[in-house]
């Protein structure tokens, strides 16, 4: 009895409160249609009930990812976000072990390797979901998976970077890297350590075959681990030209005042898609869906713009007015890239080092 009446009392108070509140806010609400739509969003309501979200992300570097997280928290208060940001392969290996051990912690996975998702899809570990705002994506990257199990989470470009103070005429194509003048001057990452470099090796073999790798090996490049090491080597002065280099990250360093610049090769910048998916056994599935959809919001694309990443919306330009249409790009497509990547790494070991 007691409980019943208390509940009723609460209910009544709630109703009255809501009525008063909506009455009072009615005027303001007109000017804040967007805010009102967030509050009315049934997905947000469901996500808020879950109250938590765990992200395993390898796409985007720490800083950009933290900004995205913070923007999400600001837009959707009441959801506590746990972000595990490690290298793509590390978060994926972790997730795989968790699934094998029956641990379900992760809600949303975001990595730079499409193969992760084809594997997860095969074992039924992903949940289908159509993010409404994905209509804003550039057309080439929409509906990545016909079953809506995974979606584009990031766009990254692999290009050539160089030290402008030491190089007046940088190589403008992959082929130009093979000229004599760059002998002993090139730095690059390793396809065995970096997904982006592996992706580049696959693309370059498709374009020019193993002859390119053989000639590239003769240039005696310094092979680091990640493609980020190219930037480090150029800034320190150890080498002057970077191959298989990160486009966005180089621009970030340039903006920070470092003497470095980037060239989009005339024989195509290599484009790699970061992918994201909601786990089938996610403990907070609605929060994960809300986050996936949030990736295609203006807020996120503006954060990406600020950090020199290609944006995820047609209507938000890249930093410095760049856009996908302005450059020539190539993406490795195909159903099963796995064996091709393995072959590329083996060839690299044989011919480059």
């Amino acid at each position: 009895m007691m409980e019943f009446s208390r509940r009723r009392l609460l209910k009544t108070t709630g109703l009255v409160g809501t009525a008063l509140l909506s009455g009072g806010l009615a005027g303001a609400a007109f000017s804040r249609i967007a805010a009102a739509s967030v509050a009315d969003d049934p997905l947000y309501a469901a996500a808020k009930k879950e109250g938590k979200l765990t992200l395993y992300w390898g796409s985007y570097e720490q800083q950009t990812m933290e900004e995205i997280r913070d923007a999400f928290k600001a837009k959707y208060p009441g959801i506590d976000v746990n972000l595990l940001r490690q290298a793509s392969q590390t978060v994926y290996t972790r997730l795989r072990m968790e699934l094998q051990n029956g641990v379900y912690e992760c809600d949303s996975l975001g990595t730079t390797n499409l193969l992760h998702y084809t594997e997860l899809k095969k074992v039924g570990a992903l949940a289908s979901f159509e993010p409404a705002d994905a209509v804003n994506l550039p057309d080439a990257f929409r509906n990545l998976d016909p079953d809506m199990m995974y979606h584009v989470g990031a766009i990254s470009l692999t290009s050539i970077n160089y030290a402008p103070r030491k190089v007046s005429a940088p190589p403008t194509s992959w082929q130009a890297l093979l000229e004599d003048q760059w002998h002993g001057k090139i730095t690059t990452g390793s396809p065995a350590s970096s997904g982006d470099v592996a992706n580049w090796v696959v693309a370059i073999r498709r374009k020019y075959g193993d002859d390119f790798l053989r000639a590239f090996g003769k240039q005696k490049p310094k092979v680091g681990q990640s493609n980020v090491d190219t930037v480090t080597d150029i800034l320190s002065g150890e080498r002057v030209v970077g191959s298989g280099a990160p486009f966005s990250y180089t621009l970030t360093q340039k903006a920070a005042g470092n003497p470095i610049d980037v060239v989009a090769p005339s024989d195509d910048a290599i484009l790699n898609l970061g992918v994201t998916g909601v786990l089938a056994k996610a403990p907070h599935p609605n929060a994960a869906r809300l986050f996936t959809n949030f990736l295609y919001s203006k807020e996120v694309s503006q954060i990406l713009q600020k950090n020199f990443w290609p944006t995820l919306r047609k209507d938000v330009a890249w930093a410095e007015g760049r856009s996908l249409d302005q450059l020539k790009w190539y993406r490795n497509t195909g159903d099963d890239l796995g064996p091709e990547v393995a072959e590329g790494i083996a060839k690299w070991k044989e011919l480059v080092r």
């Binding site: 765990t54 570097e61 720490q62 800083q63 933290e66 746990n82 972000l83 595990l84 940001r85 490690q86 290298a87 392969q89 590390t90 994926y92 290996t93 972790r94 795989r96 072990m97 968790e98 051990n101 641990v103 912690e105 390797n113 193969l115 992760h116 594997e119 390793s190 065995a192 350590s193 310094k222 092979v223 680091g224 681990q225 990640s226 980020v228 090491d229 930037v231 480090t232 080597d233 150029i234 800034l235 320190s236 002065g237 150890e238 080498r239 990250y249 360093q253 920070a256 005042g257 470092n258 003497p259 470095i260 796995g338 990547v341 393995a342 790494i345 070991k349 080092r353």
Partner: protein
């Protein structure tokens, strides 16, 4: 605990009449039981998973010997094993070759600024070797290294590089100098505790300082020297950061970089990686077997009820030359690389080079306040290291005691178990912990306990080896005296052995605490957003290419650890058992004043 309290309730009237001495076998059983249980949970279980994994196929999950066959048949996999052995032997030789004389100089002679050298060597210890490698890349990369730039000023702009850090020699140098602190700490704590009567005898018989050192002092600390040789060797085998940074660019693969490839490729070959560690285990087992052959029948008892340590050897005219020689080690491992890191951390954009406009404290501000992660990570690092080191040293010491005094059948097996974790490279161990602690009986996944347990288990071998080396030097006379006066084994251990180990235990604690705080690989699959630690943050920043942040955070990590060591060391000595117990022993007439 339960066992003890039940035993009390059901104790005989005889035992009740002596409440201070509960029935020995029960307490003994309880303690031994607890030790065995802890070892099973902390070591056997995770290692069991690594072993179990090594016999499985990554793709099908079926039982197989294929991983082992591949390890020994593929030239691709044999080459890294050979390279790793070269790196490990050379690292151990450097660590002993520098660490032992340095320890002798600091512990036993009147060389000036001994404390400074000790602190600086400890500072090298605090430095994660991948940070040391980063510093040395700034100094000695063939084209851009600052030392090479200086060299070109002297030798002309066209001169080849003086130093090339991207080489096997470079990697050996870095691994070596960052492993010296192991041998230094272990040997110097043995020297600190050592009696001087044999040295006195040698001096009386006309032996010179050098001869006394070589023929008396160093042989007496053989257990510590051998233990640190093995530890240094294992360091050389299991370090990841240094070969990853320095050997990858020259295309020299070692076991740890090959392991990283197993994890980084798609699909990851986790089970293959587990099998690939086993040759390391074999090699290290051989080292331990050799140790037993060498130490087996000899006696190294130097701490007994009869003497006390503390005589200084006068170096005379060699004092200052020795000081300058001793200074080389901190110069290479601390002063030069940290100068480089400090300079980079103080620039806003390091590619701009050094100028007043580019000077900024921004990255320190950023590391401390500009992002939400660092402060949590600092607290976590300190908390986990403190708790992990305490658990580790307690367990390691008890195991060492049981083994050294042969207190139970199969004691040596306990010792072997306590030694296993350090031989398995961190990233593989991480998977073992993951498998062991994500299920009953110890489901710790996502909690700080997981990291504390993993850290304690990983460095248990250091605690155990260190404890063993000290115990070898402590004669059982005093323990026997206590026993014959009616003290139980537990009481004897706590009131005689532990106080005698005193200073050694404190140095042992630091020997574990510091590696934990700088450990990276073991944490890789165990951290969560809430239990992140400093090293994983630094590595993330490195991974993201944020060099200024890497340098600033490294300097902060160093300062933080030094501060802690500075606070903890005198504190430990003030409250530490050693002095008080010695006084008590003197008062009781056990130790002559």
């Amino acid at each position: 605990m339960g066992v003890i309290s039940t035993s009390r309730e059901g104790s005989t009237p005889d035992a009740a009449a002596r409440p201070m001495m509960p029935r020995v076998p029960l307490v003994k059983t309880a303690v031994f039981g607890a030790v065995v249980l802890l070892l099973i949970l902390l070591v056997v279980q995770p290692f069991g998973w690594v072993l179990y994994n090594s016999f499985h196929d990554d793709l099908s999950g079926a039982w197989t010997l294929g991983n082992y066959a591949r390890t020994f048949q593929s030239a691709d996999l044999v080459e890294p094993l050979v390279n790793s052995l070269i790196l490990a032997v050379a690292t151990a030789v450097i660590a002993i070759g520098i660490g032992v004389p340095l320890a002798w100089l600091v512990s036993r002679t009147d060389m000036p600024f001994r404390r400074t050298i000790r602190v600086l060597t400890l500072t090298a210890f605090v430095t994660p070797s991948f940070i040391g490698a980063t510093g040395w890349i700034l100094l000695a990369a063939p084209n851009s290294g600052w030392l090479n730039a200086l060299w070109r000023l002297v030798a002309g702009a066209d001169a080849g590089p003086l130093l090339n850090i991207y080489s096997m020699a470079g990697a050996i140098f870095i691994c070596g100098i960052y492993t010296v602190p192991y041998s230094f700490t272990m040997v110097s704590s043995a020297l600190d505790e050592m009696a001087v009567e044999l040295e006195d005898a040698a001096a009386t018989l006309g032996s010179g300082t050098l001869r006394t050192m070589l023929s008396i002092t160093i042989p007496l600390v053989t257990p510590a020297v051998i233990a640190s040789f093995i530890l240094s060797f294992i360091q050389g085998l299991t370090l990841f950061g240094v070969p990853a940074f320095l050997l990858t660019p020259t295309g020299i693969p070692v076991v740890t970089t090959k392991l990283a490839e197993f994890y980084q490729q798609f699909p990851p070959e986790i089970f293959m990686a587990a099998a690939y560690c086993m040759p390391l285990l074999l090699v290290t087992a051989m080292l331990f077997w050799m140790r037993r052959r060498i130490l087996g029948r000899k006696q190294y008892v130097t701490i007994s009820g009869k003497t006390r340590a503390g005589r200084q050897i006068h170096l005379g005219g060699a004092r200052w030359p020795m000081f300058f020689a001793a200074l080389l080690m901190p110069l290479f491992s601390v002063l030069l690389p940290y100068a480089a890191l400090l300079l980079v951390s103080l620039t806003r954009a390091w590619g701009q080079g050094l100028s007043w406009e580019n000077l900024s404290l921004y990255w320190y501000w950023w590391a401390l306040f500009g992002n939400s992660e660092t402060l949590t990570a600092i607290v976590n690092s300190l908390l986990f290291s403190t708790l992990g080191a305490t658990l580790c040293i307690a367990l390691g010491t008890v195991v060492a005691y049981i083994v050294e005094r042969r207190m139970m059948p199969g004691a040596r097996l306990l010792g072997a178990v306590a030694t296993v974790p350090i031989i398995i490279p961190g990233i593989v161990l991480s998977v073992g912990f993951f498998a062991a602690y994500t299920r009953a009986p110890l489901n710790l996944y996502g909690t700080p306990m997981l990291l504390i347990a993993a850290f304690a288990a990983t460095f248990l071998p250091i605690a155990y080896a260190h404890g063993g080396a000290i115990l070898k030097g402590i004669g059982p006379d005093l323990e026997r005296a206590a026993r014959s006066l009616g003290a139980g084994e537990g009481r004897t251990f706590l009131s005689i052995t532990v106080p005698l180990m005193g200073g050694g235990l404190v140095s042992g604690w630091f020997l574990v605490f510091i590696p934990i705080i700088r450990e990276l690989s073991v944490a890789v699959f165990l951290i969560t957003p809430k239990t992140n630690v400093m090293t994983t943050l630094i590595y993330n920043a490195k991974d993201g290419g944020n060099y200024e942040a890497v340098c600033a955070m490294s300097v902060l990590l160093l300062l933080m650890t030094l501060l802690l060591v500075a606070v903890a060391r005198p504190l430990a000595q003030l409250t530490g058992a050693r002095r008080t117990s010695r006084k008590a022993a003197e008062a009781a007439g056990v130790v002559p004043a």
